[in-house]
């Protein structure tokens, strides 16, 4: 394929340009704040432009095959290679990550959180960007792991230094939970390496090479990966780091956490765990489905109990990622397509909600729902955007959230062959109930923060409406939520081929 080889360097460019920007910024004294902002924005935009080129050159008719493949030697002595490539499954996630970072930098233009130091803040964002971009395109387990872990550190510092009052606790919890998962995950990778027919970390070969692993062993190996990815998602009962991390993180930290970081886990399931160990995945699927629906209900009930707006949005993430995991656990192409859509939709919508929460916090210096109110009166545009994002989040048809949630529920009606149908239909009913709860908590939040007259506390305070940088940062989110909601096929058509491939692997191993 001609298109595959010639532009292969484009991906590496998109992955490493932010890092290059970060290196340049390190050499510049921190007093030059504007210069730092410019370099950060320029390098992340340059990465995005490389991404746009990839979008343009991507062969959509062969979205199921890997394109732009680069396969170079890296650490030969441990058989780890630098394998970078894209297919229809990676592309949406990769683009999401490329788009979110520059928008976050634009938002940060006049919102560098306490205690300032734009230089360090932006450098961390750029390093984070490289880690996220790389994770979605790496096709070597070790390379994947390295990118997966590189993400951890900048986020740890973003929460730990620029976070809220409980930042130390939250950042440590975030780091340790994720590290625990990764520790078991790397063991699974090693076990795969030694037990496969060919000793390799190459994710393209492994689905075949790992077919010979004894089924009991495979279940254990899948377990290790489940811990790694499941904690990142996060699935119930490992979700407890998420509300703390989200609540304490600075606004753009929360946005990136919700928009991209959580997806590393779900992406890992679809990309690595399921195709490499399909039989074990089938054994695990009912349990994953169970945890997913528990997450949906638990997250929703958690939301209803919150008094803090940001914490409420964080718990809603637990519920939404539950739908994604439910879709994945059906192991069907329908379910996994829904899951990928859900990942993008949740990224856009919840990212947006966290942006709004950040701006509300900046204006009111609190996110206590009981102290807010009358947002539609005091800052009507902000209020309307919050309403729009809430509607999208509760799964209103016509907006992006719907296409992640509804097909995932539907997919549970008919899971892959070999999975217990009754169980999944029960999950379906419970998950459907979860949507009612979602409508409940989101509308409840919206009413209490936006309707009515501003409370006496804020009656005399001038509340600024949406500012320029906020408009620039938010508009793409809002547009994407509408576009994907009205024309979901835009995304489904890209992901379908790749997802069908994975579903086929599962069907072959469980059916045959």
């Amino acid at each position: 394929m001609e298109a595959t080889g010639s532009n292969a360097w484009l991906i590496s460019l998109a992955v490493f340009l932010p890092l290059l920007g970060a290196l340049v910024m390190m050499a510049i004294p921190k007093e030059e704040e504007d210069l730092h902002k410019l370099i950060a924005l320029a390098s992340s935009l340059a990465a995005l432009i490389a991404g746009v080129f990839i979008l343009a050159r991507f062969d959509y008719d062969n979205a199921g095959t890997l394109q732009f493949v680069v396969d170079k030697s890296w650490i030969d002595v441990i058989n780890s290679r630098y394998i970078i490539a894209l297919d229809g499954l990676s592309l949406p996630m990769f683009m999401l990550s490329l788009v979110v970072v520059p928008l976050c930098i634009i938002y940060s233009w006049d919102h560098i959180p306490e205690p300032g130091n734009a230089k360090a803040f932006l450098i961390l964002l750029l390093v984070l960007a490289t880690g996220m971009n790389g994770t979605f395109v790496a096709h070597d387990l070790i390379l994947f792991f390295v990118f997966f872990e590189v993400v951890l550190l900048p986020m740890y510092f973003l929460i730990g230094v620029w976070g809220g009052p409980e930042r130390k606790y939250a950042s440590l919890k975030f780091f340790l939970f994720t590290l625990f998962g990764s520790a078991l995950m790397i063991l699974s990778f090693l076990a795969l390496f030694f037990l496969s027919d060919v000793q390799t970390f190459d994710m393209r070969i492994l689905p075949e090479a790992a077919a010979g692993i004894h089924s009991t062993t495979a279940i254990w190996i899948f377990g290790g990966m489940f811990m790694g990815f499941g904690i990142k998602v996060p699935m119930f009962p490992f979700h407890t780091w998420l509300p703390d991390a989200h609540t304490q993180a600075p606004t753009v930290g929360s946005v990136i956490l919700a928009a991209v970081l959580l997806k590393l886990g779900t992406y890992g399931f679809i990309r690595i765990a399921i195709p490499i160990l399909p039989e074990a995945a089938a054994e695990w699927a009912p349990w994953i489905g169970l945890l997913a629906v528990i997450g949906i209900i638990y997250g929703a009930l958690g939301c209803l109990a919150q008094t803090d707006m940001k914490r409420l949005i964080a718990f809603s993430s637990v519920a939404h990622m539950g739908y994604v995991m439910l879709g994945i656990s059906t192991l069907t192409d329908f379910g996994m397509n829904a899951a990928v859509f859900g990942m993008v939709a949740h990224g856009l919508i919840t990212g947006m909600l966290f942006f709004i929460a950040g701006s509300v916090k900046e204006r009111y210096h609190t996110l206590e729902i009981s102290r807010l109110g009358g947002l539609l009166v005091s800052a009507p545009r902000l209020g309307w955007i919050l309403g729009f994002a809430s509607m999208a989040s509760l799964g209103l048809p016509g907006l992006a959230g719907f296409w992640g949630e509804f097909p995932a529920i539907l997919a549970a009606y008919q899971p892959a062959d070999g999975l217990p149908v009754e169980t999944f239909r029960t999950y379906m009913v419970i998950a459907a109930l979860g949507t009612v709860l979602a409508a409940g908590y989101l509308l409840w939040m919206y009413q209490r923060t936006s309707f009515g007259e501003p409370s006496e506390e804020w009656a005399d305070t001038e509340i600024d409406d949406v500012g320029t940088f906020e408009w620039i940062a938010w508009t793409p989110f809002l547009l994407a939520i509408v576009v994907f909601g009205v024309y979901p096929n835009l995304l489904f058509s890209v992901t379908d081929d790749a997802v069908v491939n994975i579903a086929d692997i599962v069907a072959k191993s469980t059916g045959g």
Binding site: V77, I78, V146, Y156, F157, L179, L184, L190, A191, F194
Partner: protein, 499 residues
């Protein structure tokens, strides 16, 4: 009667092969002679310069020898008592680099503490000589001599901070327990000699591997192996023989603690590897499981004790116990892969820990090292805090650092041998220790720390250089570890009889 005495024939000595040792000892002699004979006081930098030059020379000669060994194969000399192979040369280079770093960091330290510079550097060089002898010894007695030269040098180095109460306690403890562990080793050597009839590693290997030639796999040999393991476990500070480490690391000067945690530990591991893996390779069943248990205990103790500490030096001491455990994970696998992973770990750890103690030596000189003293370091000295962050994260095993590759390789060697329980334990414990490293990191970057009236920290250029070099090594081998992994693979111990 006299006629019965045979004339003593000195064994043939290949002097060139021993040049690294001569250079180091020569450096020590030059320092002592010049400074004591000179009519005028010699400035402190002279001793530093000599010890840096001597270790650099030793490292260069070792590289030349390394080239020879690659071309014409390893050999042994002095009646097969000293092996010149990839393994011994690897440690020669490692020890020399360790001495250079310690000497440079020590330069500012001796001036600040009013310690006699010539003694400090001369002892450093002789201790290093002992370390290299240990790593090259093909004979248990020679190895013991090396061990003692290393230990005696260290006893005095540990005692140099005698003006502080902790310093005296540390020196005493180190001396008593060190002597105690040497006794274990010596007893072990005696028993192994008793069963095999030789102290030469080469002969021991021959006799233990052809079990038929022996009367029986004697219990005495097993007891001997056990005593040897206990002795080495003391020296590498593996739990439950680690009790000296926290007090000694805390009480000694930071550069000395760094030297103990890196060079002394590496030398002890070199001795252990040479003895158990090569000479007693046939008795793998007798030492692999005990080492796995030691490794597990060290990892657990290192992790659990480290998080309860409040003193940064003690934290580093317990983490060093844990690291000994990780290195043992590679050793107990008893494969070439495992050996090379242990060597990689030692190399990577040497620079992380010397760098860490270099930073520690800048931070404080009295009232110990409570973690509070590190609060707000990022505001006072951002680059220093950044470097310490790199060292700590590397020790926690974060990717893109040599620490990650090191942990990855030892765990890989355990998984390859299907020793899953140890691999899982090691990984879970690494999460626990990460908590401790992050506490220090968090303290340094704490944004609400009040640093306005904190004293200005002076970073000597030599110390800054060491810290920068250690950061570079930690990062470079974290991203492109290929060349170092190959080096360690070539350096897997292979005993070769001369002639």
């Amino acid at each position: 009667m006299f006629a019965q005495l045979t004339q003593f024939e000195s064994p043939p000595v290949d002097f060139f092969s021993l040049t690294p040792l001569f250079i180091l000892v020569g450096g020590a002699v030059v320092i002592m002679l010049v400074t004591s004979l000179s009519p005028r006081p010699i400035p402190g930098w002279f001793s530093t310069a000599v010890s840096v030059a001597a270790s650099a020379g030793a490292a260069v000669v070792a590289m030349v020898l390394w080239n020879d060994v690659r071309e014409s194969g390893p050999y042994s000399t002095v009646s097969d008592a000293i092996g010149i192979d990839g393994f011994s040369l690897f440690f020669t280079v490692l020890v020399s680099l360790g001495v250079i770093a310690t000497a440079l960091v020590g330069d500012a330290y001796v001036r600040r503490e009013h310690i006699a510079a010539p003694e400090f550097h001369a002892l450093l060089l002789t201790a290093a000589t002992g370390a290299i002898v240990m790593a090259s010894a093909n004979d248990l007695v020679v190895m013991f001599i090396g061990l003692e030269s290393l230990s005696i040098g260290l006893y005095i180095l540990a005692a140099m901070q005698f003006r502080r109460p902790h310093g005296r306690e540390a020196a005493m403890k180190y001396f008593v327990l060190g002597a105690f562990s040497s006794a274990f080793l010596l007893y072990g050597i005696a028993l192994v000699y008793g069963t095999t009839g030789s102290t030469s590693l080469i002969v021991i290997r021959e006799r233990t591997s052809s079990l038929g030639a022996m009367v029986s796999p004697s219990e005495l040999l097993i007891v001997g192996i056990a005593l040897l393991l206990v002795g080495f476990a003391f020296k590498v500070a593996a739990a439950p023989f680690h009790f000296w480490a926290p007090d000694v690391y805390e009480g000694s000067g930071s550069p000395v603690s760094g030297f103990m945690a890196s060079v002394a530990k590496a030398a002890a591991f070199a001795g252990l590897l040479r003895v158990v893996v090569v000479a007693l390779g046939a008795n793998e069943g007798d030492w692999a499981v005990p080492l796995a248990v030691l490794s597990a205990i060290s990892i657990i103790v290192g992790a659990v004790m480290a998080i309860t500490q409040n003193d940064v030096k003690r934290m580093l001491a317990f983490s060093s116990v844990g690291h000994a455990g990780y290195i043992l994970v590679g050793v107990q696998a008893a494969t070439a892969e495992g050996m090379s992973s242990a060597l990689f770990y030692l190399f990577a750890y040497t620079f992380m820990v010397i760098g860490s103690f270099a930073v520690v030596s800048v931070i404080g000189w009295d009232n110990g090292h409570p973690i509070e003293r590190y609060e707000g370091l990022a505001k006072r000295r951002p680059w220093l805090a950044g470097a310490f962050t790199v060292f700590l994260l590397a020790q926690a095993g974060v990717p893109m650092t040599a620490g990650f590759v090191a942990k990855f390789l030892v765990i890989k060697s355990a998984v390859a041998e299907e020793i899953y329980w140890l691999a899982i334990l090691a990984m879970v414990a690494s999460v626990i220790t990460a908590f401790m490293y992050l506490r220090i990191v968090m303290a340094m970057w704490a944004r609400d720390a009040d640093v306005d009236d904190a004293p200005r920290l002076a970073v000597a250029p030599a110390t800054a250089f060491v810290v920068a070099a250690a950061v570079a090594i930690t990062l470079v081998y974290g991203i492109i570890p290929d060349s170092l992994i190959e080096f360690t693979r070539d350096a897997v111990p292979a005993l070769v009889a001369g002639n």
